[in-house]
Amino acid sequence: MTYEITVLRRKTPEDLPYEQTFRYEARTGADTVASALININRGSLTDVNGNKAEPIAWECSCLQKKCGACAMVINCIPRLACDSVLSAVAADDRIRLEPLRKFPAVRDLICDRSVMRENLKTITAWIDEEVSLKDDKDNILFEAGKCLQCGCCLEVCPNFYAEGRFFGMNAMVPVAGLLEKLPADKSRRLRKKYSKHIYADCAKSLACHDICPAGLDIEKLLVNSNAIALWKHLFK
């Protein structure tokens, strides 16, 4: 099976982006966008017009959807390249790759997602107290610890933009775990920050819930955290 893979490219953030298309012969039915990028970079690197091309810049690490590195926009949908089997994501054997658009562009498919880390600092996503083991019967702690920080949820969010007050679900999910870990009298700071940076401006479109490549039950975490942050402590 041959695919035409078009990459939105730029050398530096200042450059205007341009498109370059590569023809890629899939080796197996399991070929993913990630394996296609790996093989294109190792191959002759000639585009469909016969022009020599520079290696395509992208980020990857685990190649099995455990690290979130390879998030990009694939045929208009933000997803992980390693989780995108070519035959499943292609439209008429064509695949278009772009970097996530909510973050500053860096080079080719790489964007600067550091705003996610900065926001987690601003929302004070840490605990100051030692906690003890807790029966995690609703799987809140476990799920909250599994966020990949890939940024797909922010890409589809109608409320998030990079400089905004609303931090989005990549901040909500870790904080959901912290709120669940802490006793109510120790979580005042975090509850306040949560209300300001998550609760206040989330319009509950839940597009994040559907897009999450880790399959996290974001709605459950959101409901649980909203309850802790806003009213649960009043009923102690």
């Binding site: 197996t28 399991a30 070929d31 993913t32 990630a34 394996s35 790996i38 970079n41 190792r42 520079e54 290696p55 980020e59 990857c60 690490s61 685990c62 190649l63 099995q64 959807k65 455990k66 690290c67 979130g68 590195a69 390693c82 989780d83 860096v106 080079r107 790489i110 600067d112 997602r113 550091s114 880390r117 987690l120 600092k121 004070t124 996503a125 840490w126 605990i127 100051d128 030692e130 906690v131 003890s132 083991l133 807790k134 029966d135 995690d136 702690l141 476990f142 909250a144 610890g145 599994k146 966020c147 990949l148 920080q149 870790p174 775990g177 912290l178 870990k181 399959g215």
Partner: protein, 522 residues
């Protein structure tokens, strides 16, 4: 510029975070340098758990038993003084992780532990089958606190270029911003926590492609000593997926999974037949060789009898991943498995304080060699990374530069693109010779093939990787015995007279100088 003395940590996985945390607790600043953020580190992929003799399961487990299992698992060449420290500190380390909020599996707040290979006691604390991810998330939160108070400065998207030396001791590091491609010099001692050497074995490893081993390769090229490179752990149960090997955690067998082959229409459970005591949970080297020796590579893993509650509570995420990547539901179907490269026991030679052979340079985690001898026990890698990271941090704290060291200077070093895997001309002979069973002929053939390559056609990183590949082959060819993960068909027996010790290799004047070092070292 003014500032305080600072330690540079290369790598932001478990060992790097542990080092940064230890330094923060001492009030010492650190630069946490990594090509990608901590969420992308190979540590998040660790599944099964972390060992600590806490005797939560009423089996009279003890630190002594953990120590003995680790020494025996490493076939008596792990450094015993360090293993003593590792196993003694393990319960406190797990308690600390609990205090940070790692949601280990528990019953009403009481920790529970599971069986793991090479150990007779239930000693492995776990969080379903995503233990590494959950530990990393808790540590990332904790480090974030120290980022906010200014003690930890993160250089995510920064790659390692080289160390800065003064009179042959390490006093700084050159890093490259992978976004702008500009290079910078940072001062102070350096801790290497950059993981294993996956770039040398493209497609054959279970770990992250970002763990290239380039830091180790560079350091080797400038004369820093490496140790035990011949010991490469093949995990018994992996499956090929695009670009890599997919790991099926040892927890699959810890929770009852059974290895078998079909013979005359019937299941033959070859591990249980041959090793009645530990069965499917024999150490990884033995299990991997047994699987590889089954005819036609037809080994299957049977988990179909496992209770629904275990699937739901302990192995849910494993089941999801197996379904997704292998298209098989392990609760009702068998999984075809074969060994894949999972861990490098060898790496930068460090003493018990995690100092390398270069002053001012320390190493921890998979990039260092200290605890695991000829074969690492499942559940000991995260423990080794956490304990090693803090030990390295404590040693580096005694070697701070006297003056302020948080100034950053741009340096003009041209950027050169290198793929994350070594060229096939290096990878192919290396993989062939460093297979699960080895012999003199394939290893010397491979070495000759590598020596005939023209390194001038390579990038600098690939030239260093070529040297490192030669060092691995030289170490493996030199160890004329079989021990742990190093199994030779031409020397199938263990030879304690000549080889009950670490190998040490150094690159000196264009030569790979290998010795078998029987001396004790601190």
């Amino acid at each position: 510029m003014s500032g305080s003395p600072c330690v540079n940590i290369i790598g932001a996985g478990l060992a790097g975070l542990s080092a940064a945390l230890e330094l923060s607790r001492m009030g010492i600043s650190s630069n946490l340098i990594s090509s990608q953020p901590s969420e992308r580190a190979q540590s998040v992929m660790a599944e099964g758990g972390i060992n600590a003799a806490m005797d939560t399961m009423g089996e009279s487990d003890s630190v002594q038993a953990h120590f003995e299992d680790t020494v025996k698992g490493g076939v008596y060449i792990g450094e015993e003084d360090s293993i003593r420290g590792l196993t003694q500190n393990a319960p406190a380390i797990v308690k600390e992780l609990i205090a940070l909020g790692v949601p280990f599996d528990n019953v009403n707040g009481r920790l529970i532990q599971r069986n793991f290979g090479g150990q007779k006691k239930k000693r492995t604390a776990y969080a379903q089958s995503s233990t590494g991810k959950l530990i990393m998330s808790a540590l990332i939160d904790e480090i974030r606190k120290h980022e906010a108070n200014g003690l930890v400065k993160r250089f995510s998207h920064h790659g390692f270029e080289s160390v800065v030396t003064d009179d042959s001791s390490c006093c700084g590091v050159i890093i490259r911003d992978l976004f702008t491609l500009k290079a910078y010099e940072l001062k102070g001692p350096v801790i290497v926590a950059a993981g294993g050497m996956n770039s040398l074995f493209p497609g054959l490893t279970t770990g992250s492609v970002a763990n290239t081993g380039d830091v180790t390769a560079y350091l080797y090229s400038i004369g820093v000593k490496l140790s035990n490179l011949e010991f490469i752990q093949y995990h018994p149960t992996t499956a090929a997926i695009e670009g890599k090997r997919f790991l099926i955690t040892e927890a699959a067998r810890g929770e009852g999974g059974r290895l078998f082959v079909m013979e005359d229409g019937k299941q033959r459970f070859f591990m249980e037949e041959k090793y009645p005591e530990l069965g499917n949970l024999m150490p990884r080297d033995i299990t991997a060789r047994e699987i590889a020796s089954q005819e036609g590579g037809s080994c299957l893993l049977d988990m179909t009898h496992i209770d629904k509650s275990v699937w739901n509570n302990k192995l849910a995420d494993l089941r999801g991943h197996v379904k997704h990547y292998l298209g098989v539901d392990p609760a009702s179907e068998y999984i075809k498995v074969a060994p894949g490269i999972h861990y490098f026991m060898g790496g930068l030679y460090v003493d018990r304080y995690h100092k390398t052979s270069m002053d001012g340079l320390y190493a921890a985690g998979e990039s260092a060699c200290r605890y695991h001898g000829a074969n690492r026990l499942g559940g000991n890698s995260m423990l080794g990374a956490l304990y090693g990271g803090r030990t390295a941090a404590s040693s580096a704290s005694e070697n701070l530069l006297s003056g302020p060291s948080d100034d950053i200077r741009e340096v003009g070093i041209p950027y050169e693109y290198t793929d994350f895997s070594v060229p096939q001309s290096v990878a192919e002979p290396l993989a062939r010779a460093c297979a699960i069973t080895r012999n003199e002929e394939t290893m010397t053939d491979a070495l000759r093939e590598l020596e005939e390559l023209d390194p001038s056609a390579f990038t600098l990183k690939d030239r260093n990787r070529l040297l490192l590949s030669e060092a691995i082959l030289t170490s493996a060819a030199g160890r004329r015995e079989s021990r742990g993960a190093h199994y030779r068909t031409d020397y199938p027996e263990r030879d304690d007279t000549n080889f009950a010790c670490r190998s040490v290799i150094a690159y000196d004047n264009g030569h790979h100088c290998l010795e078998f070092d029987k001396g004790k070292y601190l």
